[in-house]
Symmetry: C2
């Protein structure tokens, strides 16, 4: 397979846009990516469109991608609608990568879009979480509650074993709020203090409101082509795709001590790219709930078991550290419009690697960025879909 | 890219199964494909799962593929949920093909599944048809009505220009009902007469009930691997994938005389496989409404403008002809469980090419089969997604 590069990215800021439809959000991201890539729309051979809740929330059950692509002025090209809950964006990106890597396409577009500020929000949040027949209908589970008590996540067990405290979780949100305050596409731009987070409303013990990502409308797009073509077309630093790994969760019995799926996904990505966790200069990770970010550090190999809070306290993962995590503000501050999130992560990493992030530009001269996206929660699994993507200049 | 073969297919019969969930339908198809391929489940590297209405009709808005794959005993592998309305199955098949063709996977599984006998059926049929915001909310259009009057389909215009009669449309359904009567996975197994079809209830002039595909529950699965691997693993006739082409519709003004997208899709498929329409020995096509099959003949290059009825009258496309079309019974008799249809087409073609179809085995010693699947209907377009796949021994 041939080497693939990201030649352009675009985004619609995350927020509450009651008057905008899926196509309005997507159009700005798609056109932004085309401008950024300086590529004519006619060059695009194929589009992957990631969206999760459009059927339930907007009534557009099918052909969502064709609707947004036609609106953006495209026709004729293959459009593949993909869904993987909160990992829908990464799944779209992986599809675009594979098209170009295989030589089946020269230019591929990945779009992630979500419109959440409509209708019955509680229903929408629950719908993506789980096996609807089993967990939602029969058990009446809600996503944050599910996260707080999920036996595979075992949050209370980790607090007991590692000595993690609610303040440790709050500090994740504080870091990310600082970053988000400097990001023009972020939904939440108010820097929070540890007290702000701890004193916000309890959602599901130990999770308070500001530890949980909120709902939001948003979109992002990326255009990929062969590294050879990108070199010819652009004088900017070339952003290569080093690895694009997707896995689904594994059903586990209690006390199953096999490595969790995120660890395996990250290991596969490092192996594919021929690098190790130490080589990663920045990461955008899936902090759907603040404590998740601490566990993700471990599973990506950024620290040993239980050492997550130290990475924040010692300012390793802050904007001024040597391995900034969620410089965009992450899911909690940049926002988490479900199907868009995975490509919003690429948007941030590409722009950080190119040095285009202004006030929140990281200062460690980054060469390698990691995007980690995951989606869904099934009984007996840690999560339903995991993605790790490595980008490097 | 490397040559890819279909090494196994499976299906759940199409019908009304109120007591079965998506996962029950999919499980039988997946396990059937594994048995048919004689491949261990552990060999499968990636799965593409096509479904269109699971969010609206079953409440499973996200991660439908992970739910059905976990239930079938799979975990860890990448699962990509794809949607393209009635072309969701072909889109899943194309994904599996690309994974293996590129070398990214050695064995890929494509699943198509739909559960339609639940809830508000009228809503479900409408939801997949169109741009929900524009056509459904504002115009209150219903799918069969939309088909009957759609300016890009221009059914009444074709009756005027070609002299097509309702009896010509009925004869498509008659042919397909004959074929379906011999197919153990078909939903409708009663052979119909021209009178039966013409005298059935009028749905949207000139379409009567038996000219329209009905709703149904069903599933199908296919396992693909490199042609080299398939040769080593199986002594049966090798079924190769010659082309796998997907396109989306093009927005057109009235009287736009550019070739329609299905014609372009078929031409691209013939070119990729290095064959011409004359080389096709059998086809499974998307007769969502009976008249569509007549237009599809033209667009696939099987006959000249308006000559479709002649292919039926002269028994070219019947089971005993030299180019049987819809030997399975097609959408009207085999059934049209939306997301499953594209892979049900592959199921039929693979088994016909292998000579496994018993009573309905075609007798022209088939070497090349064509599957044509399409989905969605947007204003200003002929359709939203078109797929043509060529399989050959």
């Amino acid at each position: 397979m041939r080497n693939v590069a990201v030649i352009g990215v675009g985004a619609h800021p995350v927020g509450k846009y009651e008057h905008l439809a899926l196509k309005d959000l997507a159009r700005e991201a798609i056109w932004g990516a085309l401008r950024d890539a300086d590529v004519e729309p006619e060059k695009i051979d194929v589009a992957y469109v990631g969206n999760s809740l459009g059927g339930l929330l907007t009534g557009q059950e099918g052909i969502r991608g064709q609707v947004v692509m036609q609106d953006a002025g495209f026709g004729g090209l293959p459009v593949i609608n993909v869904e993987n809950a909160c990992a829908s964006g990464a799944t779209a990106f992986r599809g675009a990568w594979l098209e170009v890597a295989s030589g089946n396409a020269d230019f591929a577009l990945a779009v992630g879009v979500e419109k959440m500020f409509v209708g019955d929000i509680a229903k929408s949040i629950s719908a993506i979480a789980a096996d609807s027949e089993l967990e939602l209908s029969r058990m009446g589970m809600q996503f944050s509650a599910s996260y707080a008590i999920h036996p595979k996540i075992n949050l209370k067990g980790k607090m007991r074993d590692y000595g993690w405290t609610p303040a440790d979780f709050a500090n994740v949100a504080v870091k990310n709020s600082d970053n988000g305050s400097k990001n023009p596409v972020a939904q939440h731009r108010r820097p929070l203090t540890t007290e702000d987070v701890l004193q916000s409303r309890m959602i599901a013990d130990p999770l308070t409101l500001f530890m949980c990502s909120s709902i939001g409308d948003g979109a992002a797009a990326a255009i990929v082509c062969s590294a050879d073509a990108a070199k010819k077309l652009s004088s900017r630093p070339l952003v290569n795709i080093g690895a694009c790994i997707l896995k689904s969760g594994v059903y586990r019995l209690p006390n199953d001590d096999r490595a969790d799926t995120l660890t395996l996904t990250a290991e596969a990505a490092y192996e594919a790219a021929g690098i190790s966790p130490e080589d990663v200069d920045l990461a955008e990770v899936h902090d759907a709930m603040a404590p998740a970010e601490l566990m993700i550090y471990e599973r990506l190999g950024f620290c040993g078991p239980g050492e997550g809070p130290k990475l924040i306290d010692e300012r390793v993962v802050t904007l001024d550290g040597n391995k900034p995590v969620n410089p965009s503000g992450g899911l909690s501050a940049r926002g988490h419009p479900i199907g868009a999130t995975g490509i919003l992560q690429m948007y941030e990493i590409v722009r950080q690697l190119r040095g285009e992030c202004g006030d929140r530009q990281i200062q460690n001269n980054p060469k390698v960025g990691l995007a980690q996206n995951q989606g869904g929660l099934l009984l007996g699994q840690d999560s339903a879909a995991y993605s790790v993507t490595l980008l490097h200049t």
